[in-house]
Assembly symmetry: C2
Homo-oligomer: 105 residues x 2
Amino acid sequence: MSKKYRSDAMAAIHEMMEDLHDGGVIDKKTMRRFDQACLTPIRPLKPKEIKAIRERERVSQSVFANYLNVTSSLVSKWERGEKRPSGPSLKLLSLVEKNGLAVVA
Amino acid sequence: MSKKYRSDAMAAIHEMMEDLHDGGVIDKKTMRRFDQACLTPIRPLKPKEIKAIRERERVSQSVFANYLNVTSSLVSKWERGEKRPSGPSLKLLSLVEKNGLAVVA
DNA sequence: TTATATTATAGCACTGAGTGCTATGTTTGG
DNA sequence: CCAAACATAGCACTCAGTGCTATAATATAA
């Protein structure tokens, strides 16, 4: 319940911030700082963690790969530590970890 | 209104499909096919389209880059056609195009 | 059980996406 | 006007991601 409350609250706060900015109440700099602070923190994911995320969603490597728009062989390499996701891939994995596969459908 | 209805409907259908699968009513193959069909189609984005997406969200290149977990110089190169986003980057851009920056917050 | 898909691991060559840096303009706004 | 934020530019580098094929393990069906 608290989780849902938090994300809803964040959405509401963000809308409010934008309105304040449009109305000239707060300046661009503050708005920008706020945006940066709102982003979900991204940490490097270990191979086991990636596999755990996928198995929690109950999908095969190839289906998982389709969701992220990468190849299934890459997912295999992530899970075995042969390659490490970086940049946009990490972002997608973090999103799935926090919000589930549905958010990237 | 129809847009909201559709996404809600899809979520409901997906839940129903999972329940049917858990109950053994439909087999794995059908479930897998269903999942694949549900993904938002991804097409290559032209530089101008990427810039348009960002400007619609009213953010600078660096803020936009933070959302996608890439560098701001890469966003600049996308918008000028020096590099073309592929794989996971395209997925993120497509998500933002369809659902707005909030979904990748 | 035997057959048959679907999974996952493995290896390899290749390309270009993405990083990190610095420098130079351009716009904004205080 | 001045300073800060913004965008373009170039360059060197690394390794993520692709595409392919083959094999093995694991279901699913008959």
